[in-house]
Point group: C2
Chain length 461, copies 2
């Protein structure tokens, strides 16, 4: 638990939490929910491997069958901001039972079955996720171990309403407005929320430390679902296009939601924070002066006569990726953090930090995909110093050097991504090729090939 | 005040309020804030003109100099859903004093002045607005008379921070993040909010009945600012492209904000409404059954075991344009409505109905605009039966028939728009050319030529 020290670390980029403080932090007598380890698909006996902050070794799976579709994965630990690698990851494939349209079953024009002549089929679900922990490893570990279970449970609850047509498409016989996609999206959302509830419930039994952002990709027949709660990022590289599959959910990006919460229930501000953002910090000396201010639920700036209510910290400070909620946290959605307090106070931040992910879908139906089309996923440590274009350039360069038949190509691509953002250690610290500061954060990357989704390899038992 | 009767009217489209009920409705002893009249630029002596619901005469200004740039305007009354035309409109030009960069004043690369060597210049502001009232004419009348004053006041508050560069551009010498645009947007937002506060304050002195949506276009040198609070719509037709300048702010479109308010402060639901939306109405008989449900802040659907809390009306019912907030109102932002209640209850809806507009900007700098490039603005009565493409097609057809020199062309275009949506009266009621139901609502349209903005005619005193 080095979190308290974090303010002393270099935090120009990539520090999600500035000054964490947790209620009832004295949970040292509670057992850990999960013992610290690296993802099982890395198959590492000694988890201290890769924890050397001066080396920052890049770890990849030795067994290429450990990940679905020989997907690429690589990770490295931070430059010293916390003892452990607080990023975690998970990957698996499982089967979902759907009803299946039989050859005799007639289907109406709008794809809704006329008759119940359906059998069951097992549809393969491919699942990969990144969980970026902060202020401890507990929440990220818990999510990497348990989110899949919650997701399977929630998918099972809707499976009777899902009907596989046999051509890679899943539909539903429910109301026209309720699509199969909206049931699957609902299952992903519910999985995030129920895992967060479990963490809340079990935190008196186990030490589930900190919180974590979560980015989950789920492939189901022809469709990719990306659920994101936090500041990890997923992009598709398809037919030479870059398609963002998530957006960074940080306080600056979620201003409207956060300000609306405080506007609707000002007690959440505890008379310590203001729902107004001034162009500069205002002090007692400014009382009665006119200072530029952005009111809640506004895009523009106005001059406002400073009142005593205004001499408070802004609920959201700063813009974009550097924004902070209650001066504490740089993300606006995450799992865990149930006891996160504003440093030195008893003000809880969790009411603002919802676990609900934003889910984006992409359908590959009828697309012609090659072995060079990929989904790239990374923790914020990767993206802090890398643009989408950089990432695609790096991955493309690796894939061009390695034939489509080379099962190692995605692993090498993931390693190249992590290597780029980690840089090399110099006398000035970790630097990238262009001598700019490298990422000091934990770094995780997946490079997932997409051509399997249309070839339908392994979609059916 | 025919509002109570509205449920008996045909309300397939265009009915903003379903069952209005107002607290302290017995304000008949209070004087009107403004006596009912049509917009002054129509120069109509007899305001009953155009109030014949069986004729629905289309009114246009007789004096083409009454509107800036010979802009086109047309209106017609509803088909009988209320006695008066509840749409109102306003148009004017006024001057804003900005500092002006002198020829000697040096400007740095990022357009921020190095030296204070500036004089003052008068910059012309062109202002046009549509105010679509509901449940009475009071709020729309008040907004059409007073919003301009509030806007001038708020613009004046920031004028010292605005610097006109002499080439049609306005910048500011403030922090880089605070642009001139963000000050002007802030002024528009503040104008909407302070007018709404005035309505709240004065409603014990005057009878300011109902509420109104507001759509305001403001041209300031090379830039167009469109502020929208409600379900009116503005589109640009520029170089044969259609560019939406607003989005309909109805409950379905603002689900996240409305659900967040109720989530953060459940007392706003008064134990009468539920923040969950079920796929069908749930009753006592459903207790314990699993019914498809959309949780707040979720996109997808899940099965939920119905509890007694769920047997309530949903906060938002229906989708898109047909959605209703608390079973009452079809917009999510408006001015007025401070005493609007859910029918037959004492539940106030106003906390959800914010006056803040969404502001969109468009810069014409360096564009080559012709006399056929226009901004089209309309109340929802226009758009209920007309697509953006229809509107552009109709306007283009008129402009092709009338030379660029014909000052009547924009008026004729506006009239054609209103005529299209109003249709003709038949034995089956008001029908459009294709025999579909015409708009039964009040209809208002502006067609505003844009070439003046780059020619800079009248931009300086």
């Amino acid at each position: 638990m080095l979190s308290r020290l974090r303010t002393t670390f270099k935090s120009r980029k990539g520090s999600t939490i500035v000054r964490p403080d947790y209620d009832k932090l004295n949970t040292s007598n509670l057992p850990d929910k999960f013992v610290y380890s690296r993802p099982s698909f890395l198959n590492i006996d000694d988890d201290s491997l890769g924890s050397d902050h001066s080396v920052r070794a890049i770890l990849t799976p030795l067994d290429l069958t450990a990940l679905p579709w020989s997907s690429g994965y690589a990770e490295c630990v931070n430059g010293g901001k916390s003892r452990y690698n607080e990023d975690q990851a998970a990957a698996s494939q499982f089967y979902l039972t759907c009803r299946q349209q039989t050859p005799n079953g007639s289907v109406t024009n709008n794809n809704r079955p006329k008759s119940p002549s359906s059998q069951y089929s097992e549809v393969m679900v491919t699942y990969m996720g990144i969980f970026d922990g902060h202020a401890g490893t507990g929440a990220a570990l818990t999510a990497s171990h348990l989110l899949e279970t919650h997701l399977q449970e929630k998918l099972t609850e809707v499976r009777e309403s899902l009907l596989e047509l046999g051509d890679g498409e899943i539909v539903t016989s429910l109301y026209p407005a309720i699509t199969a996609d909206s049931l699957i999206i609902g299952a992903m959302e519910a999985a995030f929320c129920s895992l967060d509830e479990q963490m809340a419930r079990e935190r008196t039994t186990y030490a589930i430390r900190g919180g974590c952002t979560s980015l989950v990709a789920m492939f189901l027949l022809d469709t990719l679902y990306v659920a994101n709660a936090g500041d990890c990022r997923a992009i598709l590289h398809v037919n030479d296009d870059i398609i963002p599959m998530s957006r960074e959910l940080c306080p600056g990006a979620e201003m409207l939601r956060l300000q609306t919460m405080a506007f609707s229930n000002p007690s959440l501000l505890h008379n310590e924070f203001s729902n107004r953002a001034f162009s500069r910090r205002v002090w007692k000396e400014d009382l009665g002066k006119k200072v530029l201010c952005r009111e809640p639920m506004s895009q523009g700036w106005v001059y406002r006569e400073v009142t005593s209510d205004d001499i408070r910290s802004p609920l959201i400070r700063g813009e974009g990726k550097k924004s902070r909620l209650m001066d504490t946290i740089g993300v606006s959605r995450c799992l865990g953090d149930h006891d996160l307090l504003v440093f030195g106070t008893d003000i809880r931040i969790k009411p603002f930090l919802i676990p609900n992910p934003e889910v984006k879908t992409f359908n590959f139906n009828k697309m012609s995909l090659t072995e060079d089309d990929v989904l790239i996923m990374g923790s914020d440590g990767l993206w802090d110093v890398m643009s989408n274009e950089d990432a695609v350039r790096i991955v493309k360069a690796v894939l061009q050097k390695h034939t489509a038949q080379d099962p190692l190509r995605y692993t090498i691509a993931a390693k190249a991504l992590v290597a780029h953002s980690r840089g090399m250690v110099t006398e000035k610290g970790w630097r990238m090729d262009d001598d700019e500061d490298a990422s000091f954060d934990d770094i995780t990357a997946f490079v997932i090939p997409l051509h399997h989704t249309v070839k339908k390899i392994g979609t059916r038992l």
